[in-house]
Amino acid sequence: MAKRIDVSGLNAYYGSFLAVEDISMTVEPRSVTAFIGPSGCGKSTFLRTLNRMHEVTPGGRVEGKVLLDDENLYGAGIDPVAVRREVGMVFQRPNPFPTMSVYDNVAAGLKLNGSYKKSELDDIVEKSLRGANLWNEVKDRLAKPGSGLSGGQQQRLCIARAIAVEPDVLLMDEPCSALDPISTLAIEDLIGELKERFTIVIVTHNMQQAARVSDRTAFFNLAAVGKPGKLIELDDTERIFSNPSVQATEDYISGRFG
């Protein structure tokens, strides 16, 4: 439950191209950390190194250390599949399994991890859907396909699916960018509730969103197109948006570039 992430000296490559260079940071448990920065600065790539999803991209490669409490995710003998069971992820576009019902979507991760009794599954599915603020909307249509829900409901279904396996960390890659403002608000409220139980890292292009939901904000930037992305600064969200210590951060959040 809710572990600390400690990254040191992390480089991420696509083939021979260095996409993210020398990142070190600490993410506290039971907090929300937002990653902001211009397109192509490597924030999504970096996010995907935190659950070893980066390496499923052809040519994807990572150097450095990511400690989850005391366990190095990139240590020898660590199975990426086991890492992904501890670090859940929600994607930019809602991606419930279209061939599964609402219920089966939530139970999908549990069925991978082991066998449960029907009653146990029922309980976890309900708890997860309640946790994702979706239960009241779908309790009468659990057997219907997940793809029949609205976009915002689908995204909350994906969150329910991710939290059903009780991960230590929840990664969110621009979870609201495909949603309307009302659905976005629902997800933002949800993030505020989920941080009581999980360590949350969220990538967002929307700076107001970062300001609204996060405790800490990390600003990423790249020197030029084709150059690797770097972490410029990580600080309390309030400080980043009022009095950042680096000029580039101030330029970005005040809209002078990016």
């Binding site: 999803m53 501890e86 859940g88 992820m89 994607f91 279209p98 061939t99 396909p145």
Partner: protein, 334 residues
């Protein structure tokens, strides 16, 4: 006054018609559109007329043959349309056709799906092209060549497999082997499986390639292994496509003629064992009897062809039903 009356009754001068191209909103009045519409509509109607003509031809000749048949057309184990009295029935042919095709599907579908999954999800990128090319080549080999290969290579080498099946599964009766030449329905099934493998593989591969990356990533992010990704995201998404592919293959297996004729020792009996020579299929029976048949004999063969036609329609209809029933979950609305 006089003038005004005249003006009132005078026909209004028609306005000059505006020079417009394709004045109708339907857009079908331009010569090009009209010709194209006629051509495409004609092609559609032609297809229906052709199907109807085939059905009528088959039905008429079949009706005349069945009218002369003294035995029960559906249950008789005999083919003697010129005898006195004429007696022939399709029981053996229907059994042989369906059984050999089902064996072919049972072998070909798992192998094809396996190849398709390997090509789309497991094989190193540089191997994918060459393997796909070899499979396309397999599809281009004429069926007579498969028949030759089956008769000269497959049949002499199946003895070992049949002895093994007899040892372990002989007790079922279905896999009992008396040691005769393996020119049996099971051999036909194996050969047909190889023949329908390419089409099922190619269609399945196309389907698996279209599985959205986001679905696979969803499974991966839940901590799925490669096989679990395939099971959670790829196979369910490709299910209806694999069924369609199998039906295409089944259609080919049901109608295959020369290759079957070359590896089967036809008899008009139903053998309890699939490994013992004997039996026959519709297409094989027509091909081997047509040349020497009299008019009545040909009508009898045409009657059997009509039955094959109906079986094929039923198979396709069933496949559509299966696909239709699961439409809600097909992923088409994702």
């Amino acid at each position: 006054m006089d003038i005004s009356v005249k003006n009132d009754t005078a026909p209004p001068t028609p306005l000059p018609a505006p020079a417009r191209r394709g004045s109708s909103a339907r857009g079908a009045t331009r010569p090009g559109d009209r010709i194209f519409l006629a051509l495409s509509r004609g092609s559609g109607i032609f297809l229906l007329v052709l199907m109807a003509a085939i059905a009528v031809f088959l039905s008429l000749r079949a009706a005349s043959a069945i009218g002369k048949d003294e035995a029960n057309f559906f249950t008789t184990f005999e083919w003697n349309p010129t005898g006195d009295p004429p007696a022939f029935g399709i029981a053996v042919l229907a059994f042989g056709t369906v059984v050999s095709s089902v064996i072919a599907l049972a072998i070909a579908v798992p192998v094809s799906v396996g190849i398709a999954l390997f090509l789309t999800h497991y094989a190193p990128r540089r191997l994918r092209g060459p393997i796909a090319y070899v499979i396309d080549l397999l599809a281009a080999v004429p069926s007579i060549v498969y028949g030759l290969w089956g008769a000269l290579v497959l049949v002499p080498h199946l003895g070992g497999l049949y002895a093994w099946l007899d040892d372990y599964l002989g007790w079922t009766g279905v896999f009992e082997w008396n040691g005769g030449a393996p020119r049996a329905l099971f051999t036909v099934g194996i050969l047909l499986a190889i023949m329908i493998l390419p089409i099922i593989t190619n269609v399945s591969r196309e389907i698996f390639r279209q599985v959205p990356r986001t679905h696979e990533e969803a499974a991966l992010a839940l901590g799925a292994t490669r096989w679990e990704v395939v099971r959670m995201a790829v196979l369910p998404y490709g299910r209806s496509g694999v069924i369609s592919a199998s039906m295409l293959g089944l259609g080919r297996a049901l109608g295959e003629t020369m290759a079957v004729a070359m590896v089967l020792s036809p008899t008009f009996d139903i053998e309890a064992s699939l490994l013992d020579p004997g039996g026959g299929t519709f297409a094989q029976n027509i091909a081997s009897k047509f040349n020497e048949a009299t008019t009545d004999g040909r009508d009898a063969l045409i009657a059997s062809g009509l039955v094959l036609f109906v079986i094929t329609l039923l198979v396709n209809g069933t496949a559509r039903l299966i696909i239709e029933r699961r439409k809600e979950f097909s992923g088409a609305n994702a």
